[in-house]
């Protein structure tokens, strides 16, 4: 009977609600920009990782390596694009 209860999913859901609540502190409390962004970055990436591992079962099949490489590579390129664009379009002009 133990198998019937989706313990993993429930824990994931509770955890994601907690992370959302933590992120909301940025709105309800008076924080400096740096601290606020740090909180948001940490909660968002943990939350994304949670979805990936708990809900999307990224590591369950024989293609685990390919899937993780693909996601991490995509993430890396996306971050390079975001920060590179900011470097070229905004920060670079100072």
């Amino acid at each position: 009977m133990k198998e019937l209860f989706p313990a993993k999913q429930v824990m994931g859901f509770v955890f994601s609600l907690i992370l959302t609540a933590v992120a909301l502190l940025v709105y309800f409390m008076d924080m400096s920009f740096e601290l606020g962004m740090t909180v948001l970055l940490v909660t968002a990436f943990i939350q994304a990782g949670l979805q990936l591992v708990v809900f999307m079962h990224a590591g369950e099949s024989e293609d685990k390596a390919a899937i993780y490489t693909n996601v991490y590579y995509g993430l890396f390129i996306a971050l390079v694009t975001i920060f590179g664009t900011l470097l070229c379009m905004i920060w670079g002009y100072i």
Partner: protein
């Protein structure tokens, strides 16, 4: 009549009217021919509905050759206009339209499908697979590319060509400075073709990762397959950027948004930025498969294994990563500070290192090899020195401070033609000659092939080396004329002569195809070049199922080792073979996309909504469809195999 006015050409000329008539007559001739010879059924059953990767590859090939012709005519017109000072052959507007379409056609509708052609035909054979992972999707990719290309090409007879350069920088490409629908064509045609390319990327990544023959580990894959894998990884991560940029450009032009406008906060430089975030990786999407082709050809005709297999693979993987880190070198002069430029300058120079590693690997493969100069090998050997010149000038351009001198001059034009022509075009022609016997069952004439290779190389040097000099002297690109006092005249005349010699070279290739169709022997073996990889281990012509028995691989050059060391490739007995069914839906969806794009270009909202619904209906039908493919029975396989072995 107001409704029809929008379809008129804003800047007509006799040449355009003549092309209209020519296009009309050609279409009538094709339709009449198909009807007269009763080929409609054949065309539909065997080609339009096919999901066979080999046939899709051949359709890509035909499209690429057609587009090569279109882009080549553009090039000749450009060089003819610049051949003498103050020439009046073309006016500024036509010159703008022609260099814009020349760029787009050559990069996106010639080089890309040429690579797709070879990838489609070769990769599944090279890894011992029966087809790609998603054959139906593969057909859809082709038709989206094809319809995108056709939509782009009709622009010059309906509504006007794009005229803002192949990079289509805003604000020039915005409504204010580009009033005609030309730039709408650019945005939407490339969007459609781009979606097709993205699907190809996903398809081939999955195919190469999951469908290799037993025993073929990643580090035992042939080099062309490796290069295709890396190129497709880049496609998957680069093309979404183009999708977004084009969508934003389209919205700016048609829905009045303010992404790239010069007022209401819009930022025209963002377009250049996003364009090159895609555009630079795109360069590597083109060149890596070309490197793969050269690797196959050089090791085949040097009669030895490729030197430094592992370093070849690693340098490609490094290039794939680096290709996303260098894009700002396309706009060093846009106004970023020294720090930003320096960062991109360094990453750009660094990318020359893995490329250099590859050059040395090819040289070491040739070293002590028993070199046999066939046409493909001739292209490969010409490629090495010519491409290196382009690479070296690339490092010159990478220096951001010096780039202020080179930027937007003919020097840059010379550089990128210098890497793309010997790099990509020669590779594609070499690959075409190399794989021609596998595709069509006869070989192209060697003598004519070598003539073409030499003509193209000499023509290339004459056409582009002078541009380095005029560029350094300050001749700007994209200027339709110059005065006599600049002194650019003689060198530009040399360029024109070079372009004509290249045109002769291409004509020789066309003649070679005609000549070989008529006179070449059909009695060739399945392995006419004495090659080394799996695609040569099956029959010519390749049966529908590629391999009757899935090959067992335990070395990089499995076929070579089976010939020389007695490894057994085909161990099992015949079994029934599962194959995908043909389908007309990809073609129909392609046609709907064409109508969708056309409606979008002209802002015809009702047809746009109807065709959008049509696209979604096709997708919904696909969701509910039950399609389990079909089986080829053991008897049928035996029959085909006996017949093909007899034909050898």
């Amino acid at each position: 009549m107001d409704f029809f006015d929008r379809f008129a050409i804003p800047h007509p000329s006799p040449a355009i009217y003549a092309s209209m008539v020519a296009i009309g007559l050609t279409m009538i001739a094709v339709l009449a021919g198909l009807t007269y010879f009763k080929k409609w059924g054949y065309l539909w059953r065997e080609w339009l509905t096919t999901v066979d990767h080999k046939r899709i590859g051949i359709m890509y090939l035909i499209s690429a050759l057609l587009m090569l012709f279109r882009g080549g005519v553009d090039a000749i017109m450009l060089r003819a206009q610049l051949a003498t000072p103050d020439a009046k052959l073309l006016d500024a507007q036509h010159y703008n339209e022609i260099f814009s379409t020349h760029g787009v056609v050559m990069i996106l509708f010639m080089a890309m499908p040429f690579i797709m052609a070879l990838m489609n035909f070769v990769v599944p054979l090279q890894i011992g697979a029966r087809d790609v992972a998603f054959p139906r999707l593969n057909a859809l990719s082709f038709w989206l590319f094809f319809m995108g290309a056709m939509l782009f090409n009709i622009s010059f007879v309906i509504g006007g060509s794009p005229d803002a350069g192949w990079t289509s920088y805003f604000p020039l490409a915005g409504n204010e400075f580009s009033e005609s629908v030309g730039t709408n064509y650019y945005m939407i045609a490339i969007q459609i073709a781009g979606i097709g390319t993205l699907m190809t990327g996903i398809n081939f990544m999955t195919t190469i990762l999951k469908m290799r023959a037993p025993g073929m580990t990643l580090m035992k894959m042939p080099m062309f397959t490796w290069s295709s894998l890396v190129a497709n990884v880049i496609i998957v991560f680069a093309f979404p950027v183009l999708t977004v940029a084009l969508a934003m450009g389209t919205m700016d032009r048609l829905f009045g948004t303010n992404f790239f406008t010069t007022d209401n906060g819009g930022m025209d430089m963002l377009w250049a930025n996003l364009f090159w975030v895609w555009g630079h990786p795109e360069v590597y999407i083109l060149i890596l498969p070309a490197f793969g082709i050269y690797s196959e050809i050089i090791s085949t005709f040097a009669r030895r294994n490729l030197y430094g297999y592992k370093s070849m693979v690693f340098s490609m993987v490094i290039i794939a990563g680096y290709s996303f880190l260098v894009w700002a070198h396309h706009f060093f002069t846009m106004g970023q500070g020294a720090l930003t430029n320096s960062i991109f300058s360094i990453t750009t120079m660094a990318i020359a290192v893995p490329t250099g590693v590859k050059i040395f690997n090819w040289l070491f493969t040739l070293w002590k090899g028993k070199i046999e100069i066939t046409t493909p090998m001739l292209y490969a050997i010409l490629f090495i020195p010519l491409f290196t010149i382009g690479g070296v000038t690339g490092v010159m351009l990478a220096m951001s401070a010096a780039d202020y001198q080179y930027h937007n001059t003919m020097f840059l034009v010379a550089h990128f033609h210098n890497v793309i022509i010997p790099g990509v075009v020669f590779a594609m022609l070499a690959g075409l000659t190399y794989y021609w016997p596998k595709m069509f069952g006869f070989m192209l004439n060697e003598k004519l092939g070598k003539w073409a290779a030499w003509l193209l190389s000499i023509g290339f040097l004459l056409a582009f080396m002078p541009m380095y000099i005029t560029g350094l002297d300050g001749q700007a690109r994209r200027m339709y004329t110059y005065s006599e006092s600049t002194g650019y005249g003689p060198l530009n005349m040399v360029s024109f002569i070079g372009a004509l010699i290249m045109a002769v070279g291409f004509a020789v290739i066309v003649y070679n195809i005609y000549y070989s169709i008529r006179y070449a022997s059909r009695d060739i073996s399945a392995d006419p070049w004495d090659a080394r990889t799996l695609e040569w281990a099956t029959h010519t012509p390749v049966p529908e199922y590629n391999f009757a028995v899935v090959p067992q691989v335990n070395s990089i050059e499995a076929y070579w080792d089976s010939k020389k060391k007695g490894q057994v490739l085909f161990k099992d007995k015949y079994e029934k073979i599962h194959m995908p069914n043909s389908s007309g839906v990809p073609f129909i969806m392609g046609c709907i996309f064409f109508a969708w794009g056309f409606s979008f270009v002209f802002g015809l909202w009702v047809p746009l909504i109807l065709t959008t619904i049509g696209i979604f209906v096709c997708m919904a039908l696909r969701s509910f469809e039950k399609d389990h493919g079909h089986y080829i029975s053991v008897e049928e396989v035996e029959e085909t195999e006996t017949k093909l072995r007899g034909a050898k």
